[in-house]
Symmetry: C2
Subunit: 418 residues, 2 copies
């Protein structure tokens, strides 16, 4: 008996997963028991990216959108390593980490996620604020609150313009939350200064939330305008300066704070891994195996997987989690010499929140707006938030914000003041 | 009528308060309506220092021990300025801030608080971690969790020794919380690594919590030892190295992480203000006026005020708040040509928490230990925590920690990993 179970353990494939976001963590959990899994991430926590904009706009405590990875792995037979990949040794099937550790694998899963891209537009990297991790969110919060303090000090009628670039869900939610921060807490803090804040949302295309139905796009624009956000469609950024933005039509507009929510690309660390890259994402087969590397898989934002329409799948959590569960099955199949299948994404819909009682939801042909959509958004996000403590803490923060119209997390704690 | 009220407004003294800690904020609130107050702080939030060690040991979210100052001043006629003082113009009675603003005053209140001091011991500044602000607390959390990840990676029996220097309330609470972090969450995360963490508390004198009764000091030591903390009394630090500490008796002990809770002195920014300084604190009359400057007051940690026994008053919140209310009355008296009185501190007792159901409380001749003392500590701290959101959030975190024996805020987010 004992020898048998030892044999069984021996036969389990060794799987190394790079990245513990929605894709990597879901894959690790799905493979637990079926493989010997080592999960690798540069942080010791998972960041709940969909709520990062609320940290940036003082609605949530930074710690509430993070969850310790080891906490999520308890009672599962999964190893965790904090670190970043430096290189893959394809011959010996091993991956080297910046902690100078080398880990061997039978299967390698690349789930490193995405990073902000500037599309080569000058000035973005230097003068615009990204929003892909907790530090960037705290930096945005710090910049907004610092500039607000400047307004309070210098009562000479000077204005503060905050521009959010990008009309996708992140940009829309960010612009809406900034508008509510201005209209509520900052107005209570110093009315005349709050009035001098101008919030603008810029989108290069003709629609906000282009993946949703046109009706919802229009509703989103109207809701944002009701909140006092200036929405500029068909407006392409040519260059970002410290205090203004050049538009491609030759105009130049004021912008003391520019927030870049315009585009994401595969996490640049992937370039070290000598894997085929296409359009900023790792090239994969329909089976999610990396092209030419049948034992390496790519899932989530970093994978250049395509939908039935031949277009890249969106960089969203549902895609990542479906892919994660899919490759877990694929790897098990390979272990039992089963036949691989092709991944197909089941679109369960999209949603974005704009402000209090204002959101848009599209699930198949069902389209919701207003308070119902807003509560649906709240509950879904609370449901997917990792960890009971974060759920309770977030619920507490939200209830407080909802009842008081206030936002308690206005602290400038991005470290720039040190 | 209108002219009369304008005259009344004119007669209100202009008071500038430097620092929005317990002392400064209490003074501002007490003077509201009786003076034209400008409150100045380098942060836009007040830090609740008594709970900082819980941020450092993963028990509380960083945002929960901070409270936006403007939020605390709403509905009061008090101006707030974010900034640090650069100099005082004693002739023209004005103070210059690093925001290049100059503010005139009739009365100036110095409430800048305290900073860690190394007593001139070499290596402390470079190799020991202080704990006087949120960033330092997050740095401690980051260092502990990073070293823990190292232990998990290198399973070669190597140890991690964390030394807390200073047996006052801060050191005791820190050592106890570290022990509970090790025994609970870290043990659940990776049992064999948690076992290799050694926690030590060093005190130069013969007693922990020397301001309390000897019985409570002994109980504190026993409680800490029950939690697995090595307590070393009569142990003076001679030099701190990156991985060890030299003791004054010639011994050298291992210490990969050294936390400095051994001493505080008046915030060094005071040196710019050309005021008399004695033993690291601003020299004050029994009336709390700065010696030779009858229109400048010093309160809280930075004030070198003495008790009836001729010794400096302890640097604790109750002293700061009593002094704040006292000088508010003094300033009002001066406005109505009343006679100044001398400040005397009413000691309402001291307390320190050691761990779950373990605390010591001394109020006059009443001495409590164990669960009663612990719950008394919890409620008092919750009561003094600023802001309903922080109260709710802290209560949520504490309830979670209490019921699950876990600590959810183990995230390494001190910025050192960027």
């Amino acid at each position: 008996m004992k020898g048998e179970s030892r044999n069984l353990v021996k036969r389990l494939p060794r799987v190394v997963i790079l990245g513990a976001g929605f894709a990597g963590l879901t894959a690790a959990r799905s493979l637990s028991g079926k493989a010997k899994v080592v999960l690798v991430d540069r942080h010791n926590y998972q960041t709940f990216l969909p709520l990062l904009y609320q940290v940036a706009t003082a609605g949530l405590a930074a710690d509430h959108v993070a969850h310790p990875i080891r906490g999520a792995l308890r009672k599962l037979d999964i190893d965790f390593r904090m670190g970043s990949p430096i290189s893959i040794d394809h011959k010996n099937k091993s991956v080297k980490l910046d902690s100078s550790e080398t880990i061997e694998f039978d299967h390698l899963v690349i789930a490193l996620g995405s990073a902000t891209t500037d599309f080569g537009i000058p000035g973005v990297t230097d003068h615009a604020l990204g929003m892909k991790n907790i530090h960037e969110a705290l930096r945005i919060r710090g910049e907004v609150m610092r500039r607000f303090e400047d307004l309070c000090r210098i009562d000479d009628g000077s204005k503060l313009t905050i521009t959010v670039v990008g009309g996708g869900p992140t940009g829309v939610e960010m612009a809406g939350a900034l508008a509510e921060l201005k209209r509520g807490p900052l107005k209570l803090d110093h009315p005349s200064s709050a009035q001098r804040i101008h919030i603008r949302l810029i989108e290069a295309g003709p629609d906000l939330l282009p993946s949703l139905h046109k009706k919802l796009s229009n509703k989103t624009r109207k809701d944002l305008e009701t909140l006092g956000v200036e929405v500029a469609l068909n407006t392409k950024v040519a260059k970002v300066h410290p205090d203004r933005i050049d538009i491609s039509n030759g105009e130049s507009i004021e912008s003391e704070i520019t927030i870049w929510a315009a585009g994401v690309t595969g996490e640049p660390v992937m370039k070290k891994l000598s894997l085929p890259i296409l359009n900023g994402r790792i090239e994969v087969e329909p089976t999610l195996q990396v092209v030419n590397y049948p034992h390496i898989w790519a899932i989530g934002d970093i994978a250049g997987a395509k939908g039935k329409d031949g277009r890249f799948l969106p960089m969203v959590a549902p895609v990542a989690m479906q892919q994660a569960r899919f490759i877990a099955t694929q790897i098990s199949k390979l272990a039992s010499i089963g036949k691989l299948t092709e991944f197909s994404y089941k679109d369960k819909g999209s949603m974005a929140t704009i402000g209090r009682h204002k959101a848009v939801v599209e699930v198949g042909r069902l389209r919701l707006t207003g308070a119902i959509a807003w509560f649906a958004w709240l509950w879904l996000h609370l449901f997917y938030l990792l960890g009971g403590r974060n759920k309770i803490g977030t619920m507490a923060d939200w209830t407080w914000n909802y009842l008081t119209f206030d936002r308690g997390n206005r602290h400038i704690m991005d470290g720039a003041e040190l």
